[in-house]
Symmetry: C2
């Protein structure tokens, strides 16, 4: 496979265009791996880690290569490799790789591979499930922007959900955060739009190839993200989105964000899958609460109850998820119970003696005198010959 690809001048030219630089063999091999393995294939990931992408490709497709020769001697690894080969072979044709490269060139995509300045090291937390490469349309450098927050939610969002999503994303993007989402209808669309609306940074991870604008109704939005932000995908161009690929895509959204926020989600929403990945990766997880009468918030409440998600109600609280502190929190009024009891006893019209205030408040006359003295200094109480009263304008209950 590698020889066939490297021997073809058009293929090499395409690879150089998709990934400028010297490492053509690595780039071609990684592109080929995105074609022959489904996202998250841990056997492929382990093999690439162990041998490097080109060698792993030759080894994976070469019948004569012995398992023993790689040092993978245990029976489980041997079986996993055998099964992997059975998965990869049906797709492993030079034509499939060439078609993917050509389609990527057609939409002016780039291939980003580990070691590139734009490669997000955060994806390394996925271990052997990390992608072998990413296909990107637009500003690939956004993948390493900081801070990054993943915001996801239901496709069937409510007006409330879309409103809150837009408010939060607009505020977060304005204050410099990259908004990562999945390009879907509902919450995803609302956060991307809000980020673009404030000329902020946003990245959409797609389940199919970056040449496939899915969903169709987001054609213009995804086009705008490709121009001003970035469309990113693990499967190569030409790949249709499938349910499985949506789930696999979710792990990338969870891994890229320094925190993940679920804005609105039904009880079985796919967003809970993203949240589960974020929790498993140790990323801070936030959930926006909503009315308990709204099925669209049931999944968020479930995250609060079952996933130990943090309740977030504002952009400030979202920033706190990754440890970014805003202005110091507003101080709490420490209400002095004695003041409250004296104020309770006083009126604005009647004048009371210290003894009467003591009786009413259940405090000693000495204590009443001391508290009245302080409150008098502050103007909270007034005194005349007839006795003490509450100053007009003092807050009551």
């Amino acid at each position: 496979m590698m020889e066939l690809l490297l021997d073809d001048a058009d293929t090499v030219a395409a690879a150089r265009r998709l990934h400028p630089g010297e490492a053509v063999a690595d780039c071609l091999a990684r592109a080929a791996w995105t074609v022959i393995a489904e996202p998250g294939d841990a056997v492929a990931g382990a093999l690439i880690d162990a041998l490097g992408a080109p060698e792993a490709l030759s080894f994976a497709l070469d019948d004569s290569a012995s398992v023993r020769s790689t040092g993978h001697v245990d029976a489980r690894a041997a079986r996993a490799l055998k099964e992997g080969r059975a998965r990869w072979r049906p797709r492993a044709t030079p034509k499939a790789v060439r078609d993917a490269l050509r389609a990527a060139v057609d939409v002016d995509a780039r291939l980003v591979v580990p070691g590139d300045p734009s490669w997000p090291e955060a994806l390394g937390d996925l271990g052997p499930h990390a992608p072998s490469a990413l296909w990107v349309r637009g500003r690939a450098e956004l993948l390493v922007h900081e801070p990054r927050v993943s915001m996801v939610g239901a496709r069937a969002a409510s007006g409330y959900g879309e409103h809150v999503a837009a408010e939060l994303a607009g505020d977060l993007a304005t204050t410099g955060a990259l908004i990562v989402s999945g390009g879907a209808y509902g919450i995803d669309g609302a956060v991307h739009r809000a980020a673009l609306g404030v000329r902020g940074a946003t990245v959409a991870f797609l389940a199919g190839g970056v040449d496939r604008v899915y969903p169709a109704g987001h054609h213009r939005l995804l086009q705008q993200i490709a121009e001003e932000g970035a469309l990113v995908s693990e499967p190569p161009c030409g790949t249709a989105p499938t349910k499985w690929r949506f789930l696999a895509r979710n792990r990338l959204i969870a891994a890229l964000g320094q925190a993940t926020v679920v804005v609105e989600a039904g009880w079985r929403s796919g967003s809970l899958n993203t949240a589960g990945h974020a929790a498993a990766l140790g990323r801070p997880l936030g959930a926006v609460p909503g009315p308990v009468t709204s099925a669209s918030s049931a999944g968020c409440h479930r995250l609060l109850r079952e996933y130990d998600a943090q309740c977030v109600t504002s952009a400030r609280e979202v920033r706190e998820l990754w440890g970014q502190a805003d202005a110091p929190p507003t101080g709490q009024d420490v209400a002095d119970p004695n003041r409250r009891r004296v104020l309770d006893a006083l009126g604005t019209r009647t004048r009371l003696s210290v003894e009467e205030i003591a009786r009413r408040s259940g405090m000693s006359p000495d204590r009443v005198r001391a508290v009245l003295g302080l409150m008098h200094l502050e103007g909270a109480v007034a005194v005349e010959d007839a006795g003490w009263s509450r100053s007009t304008g003092t807050p009551g209950r």
Copy 2:
């Protein structure tokens, strides 16, 4: 004081009516303590614990009694006692006690004291801040009903808050829980009404005397609670509610409930005070979420963030707070990724070979065959000479 009260035949007769039984001196002394000390007076509580209520009363009001004689020798205790005496004396007249007894008789109240069958031992968790007695109109035995749940919230509740409060309280009362609240406008009123509406049990703790129907707009509701549930207060009849007494009353609501639920609360709502008491007492604390755009839910969200409250969205989840389990939770669908990938590859119209499904799904042909076999048994896929297809009626995405 004790001699003057016990020597008066009317006073003793009133005491026997308010608390049938032999312990007249203890009953009179505790009634007197509710008159002379404000709710939660820890010095009074400690003195009553140490000496018994009648002896504590004599000691508190007798100038000649030396602090040393009780064994309270340390300077701090001596000063606390001296300050206590200065607090209590302005109110300590036999007339004040007699007025309180007479007013209680007039509304057919009862005095419930520690050791009575209706005395809730749960209040003991308040230590020296526990009440010396409780004034009750209605069914005093409800104080020891189980399970008991305290439900509180904002006076300025939204339609959403009142709706959810009524739904939860109605369900909880129907399934046998006592609904404890504070008789106020808004959420409190909604939960009392819902409990009464299903002929359930409810208790209202008032900040003033049980003869004072406060707030005035709840005259009929409180009257109904006095008849079908119970009105309970720590201060004696004739006492006006004050801000301080509302706060002190909150600790009783928190202590009586086996769990406390805040349904709706503003950022600085008094309900947070009740919630704080519940948390300090180690009682499970629940908060009902709401729209983040609603100021009426800001306090609940604060409880979720700052007080580690549990998010509760249904009566079942409230019951879980005190460990009551309903029917076993509905099982989670464990979606098999291989089935999903095969289904993703299939259509309902086209017929595909195993090899084509393997290529589309990125699975090995052997695995595809095995999964297809199982799914065929379940009727999820169909097979003909031309190949495999998805059965019509199989859920898509």
